[in-house]
Symmetry: C2
Subunit: 499 residues, 2 copies
């Protein structure tokens, strides 16, 4: 190993430690820290983020990376190192342009904004959050000004979350969906709906937790390399492929949400646990592409979890762990989990209306960054769009613009990833059936591990080394298109709703 490669590895090893404890602080802030302990965590997070940022953007590291990227040295590297050096060079060139004090101020403001959002949501009072949202927008514009001077801010934000998918591509994909799905949705909403009374009973929370454990194990989540927590908003987080954690949020009534959150986050987690461990704690590791990430969580949640056959091998077990399900037939269960409603909350939405929850957010982010709409006007725009797409208006901001955590830490440009994920899923499902045969049959026979293995081989192992476009080209040999998803929806819901 050359001296420079060794220097780089030492650097990566140090940076890893800072990222490790930043991840842990974040985990604890979201799952456990008491109200009065929050400030101590923010102080530590601010301090160590600044330290790691200084390490990452140091001249010394940049020189090491630049040396290794030079023709002579580069050719001697193995493929993983080649990727790491190239990727780091690209990232560092951007990140090094951010002044340290501004980065530190941003991290601190993010933490404060996160807390303000929680308070605002609890009080259903947008005005508590508004000044922080404004700050997050301004900070993002400022940061983009450093990293990508002269570029369109919204384009940079999209690229940050789903490289290789620009707004022109997304516009096109979303417009296709809108034009075909909106008529389908209107027909569905006009059709007779099932009675969900049996799902509104009391379902023991401890039983729901046991169902989550059962589902995670069934899907292939490895407990030796993972953990489970509780938080207001379910999420997945990873230290490396060896420590991947999911959270959930349980309520006594309507356990369908916690069950599908468990499957969703389980999908994210299985992805992270199966990235090539050689990539751990480098730019090659984890998965930096949010659309690809969401495609995996949503593949398990929707393409598999909403399929009746997924439940055939485990439906008795569900009834054992949560006895009220013994009074619900699998047909009734299947019908309810595929119940399409014009409802208010994104993370509780069915897979059809979900598309419009995302399109709404995508359009709002365009309004913020392209049309510079003042934050005060955003709740009204939100409510109008809900009315336009889903014919429903939030009774308050907690059920409207305050429902999601993303904007509270400045994660603008993230939302489209969810729908891109579903669009990819339409394509992956088609491809998987071509290669492995009928998914209904695989699931019915309890051979879900074959699907997990296919996803591991096709997608997960590559971590961050392939862009979304490359992933799709490699898995499907095609360019990205909304058509397979539209066909899936049309076939499935025409049948369910007898349209």
């Amino acid at each position: 190993m050359s001296k420079t490669v060794e220097d780089l590895k030492n650097y990566l090893d140090r940076i890893k430690k800072y990222e490790h404890i930043e991840t842990l602080l974040y985990w604890d802030m979201k799952t456990l820290v008491p109200k009065e302990g929050y400030d101590g965590h923010i102080d530590a997070l601010t301090y160590f983020s600044a330290e790691s940022f200084a390490l990452l953007t140091s001249d010394e590291l940049y020189e090491i990376v630049t040396d290794l990227a030079s023709d002579e040295e580069y050719e001697k590297l193995d493929d993983t190192m080649k990727f790491i050096v190239k990727r780091m060079k690209k990232d560092l060139e951007k990140e090094r342009r951010i002044p340290k004090d501004r980065y530190e101020a941003f991290v601190k403001a993010q933490a404060e904004s996160g807390r303000a959002w929680e308070e605002a949501k609890e009080a259903s009072d947008f005005s508590i959050f508004a000044p922080h949202l404004k700050k997050m927008i301004d900070f993002r514009v400022e940061m983009c000004g450093y990293t990508d001077p002269g570029e369109d801010v919204f384009e940079v934000l999209l690229e940050d979350h789903e490289e290789s998918m620009d707004s022109a591509t997304i516009d096109c994909l979303f417009e296709d969906l809108k034009s075909d799905l909106l008529p389908l949705l209107k027909k569905i909403l006009a059709a007779p709906q099932p009675d969900d009374a049996k799902f509104r009973e009391k379902f023991d929370i401890n039983g729901q937790k046991k169902v989550q454990d059962m589902l995670l194990a069934y899907m292939g989540f490895r407990k030796e390399a993972g953990a489970v927590g509780e938080s207001a908003h379910p999420f997945t987080l990873n230290f490396s492929s060896k420590d991947v954690r999911v959270t959930n949020h349980y309520r006594e009534s309507y356990p369908v949400n916690a069950i599908y959150s468990a499957i969703h986050e389980g999908g994210h987690a299985i992805f992270e646990q199966n990235v090539n461990p050689e990539y751990d704690n480098t730019v090659a590791g984890s998965c930096r592409y949010m659309g690809v990430h969401e495609s995996q969580s949503r593949f398990y949640e929707n393409m598999l979890g909403l399929n009746k056959n997924f439940w055939i091998p485990i439906y008795d077990k569900l009834g054992e762990l949560l006895p009220p399900f013994q009074e619900i037939t699998l047909d009734e269960f299947y019908r309810e989990v595929n119940h399409v409603r014009n409802s208010l909350i994104r993370i509780e939405a069915d897979e059809v209306t979900y598309c419009f929850h995302i399109i709404l957010r995508y359009e709002m982010e365009k309004a913020i960054f392209r049309d510079h709409v003042p934050v005060e006007e955003l709740p009204a725009i939100w409510n109008q769009k809900m009315q336009d797409y889903l014919e429903i208006t939030p009774e308050n901001d907690a059920a409207g613009i305050l429902q999601d955590t993303h904007w509270s830490d400045g994660s603008f440009g993230y939302f489209p990833s969810y729908l891109l994920g579903s669009i990819y899923d339409g394509m992956f499902l088609e491809q998987l059936e071509e290669e492995l045969g009928c998914v209904d049959q695989i699931l019915r026979e309890g051979r879900i591990s074959e699907i997990t293995k296919w996803l591991n081989d096709q997608i997960h192992q590559y971590g961050s080394t392939r862009t979304p476009k490359e992933v799709i080209a490699n898995v499907c040999g095609k360019v990205v298109s909304s058509k397979p998803l539209i066909s899936y929806f049309t076939k499935k819901y025409t049948e369910i709703y007898n349209l």
Copy 2:
């Protein structure tokens, strides 16, 4: 504020951040980290401990402290700063003599030893732990050689955990107890014992957690400044007075253990939550004296929690949260929680045999550090002493020498603190009754908050600013003695067992 005071405060502020994340890593390692994620935590802990040790022992900090300790500067300081400067000077003079690389090696070895102990306990195989125990002993001897050259190692270890209580004092206190309690214990064990069958039924674990929440709130634990977790071995940990966490370990049968662990750790936590917040994250904060600390956890657990009157206001609630208690009368409950048995596990022992569990460990530590008994011989000595004191021999090492975590991270000299705590409790109870009146009546009337307030005022608020001897002198105006504890035991158990 003088420039030097400001410099000190800046240093303390930086050190606080490192200690904060070391605490968090420790918390997560004990409560949640998955098996494969352990190494990542050890790596980070080793790195940041070394960094904080370097900060703490830096020449610059030592110069600041030395400057402030000089006559001229010292007189200008407020009382808190005076304490901090004096204490830091004393501590730093010792700690600065430890070579950084040796300290780092020790921290790493501690973490590895902790893991080996867990494995050894699970497999009930002392040989897995033995080489690590040997390493911990050698490291402690080595560390004492740096910090207190020429001093008796065992004396240094005792002083580390309970300053102002040397082995001559402890010998005397423990011998008094032994000579009066061993005859009492023999009489108790010969008397008729209650039937505990009703306590061996199935008690819902979720219900036990709810009981814990109820008890913590009843005792005065503030949830806004605390959190609850699960671990193999219950413990309390604090980031500051604003974030104090307790853990517990639940089993379906015999919920008495989890109930009393909840009260015990709650006592520790109430102490930490009520230390003067101005002392937070300085040497004046928290409580560094383990005997004083244990006196508070054990005061709640034994002096209050084992008193029938403690339960009168909340016994119905207990039955609501854990229905099998509806079939158990308060008299039966009181009888069982004061059931004296010659059992194997310290943390499950009644308050009488508990004394002998500690005396055994104290004598074993003397054997290790004074008589240099090889580690291989320790299990046999343990088993022999169990036979001598409690007339029982562990069936395996998991139930014998491997049961406690303390030695796994080299915390020798800690065990005597538990019994010192009980000895202080005998004195505190006497004093409290002199000042507030009959404890039975206070508890019966649900006025436990008056007791908590008395302990806050008399003990908790002072944190680490008073040595154990000073605490006792201030609270009781007497020198430490085992007599009050012996009287308490004799009166209580003569009555319960009709001796």
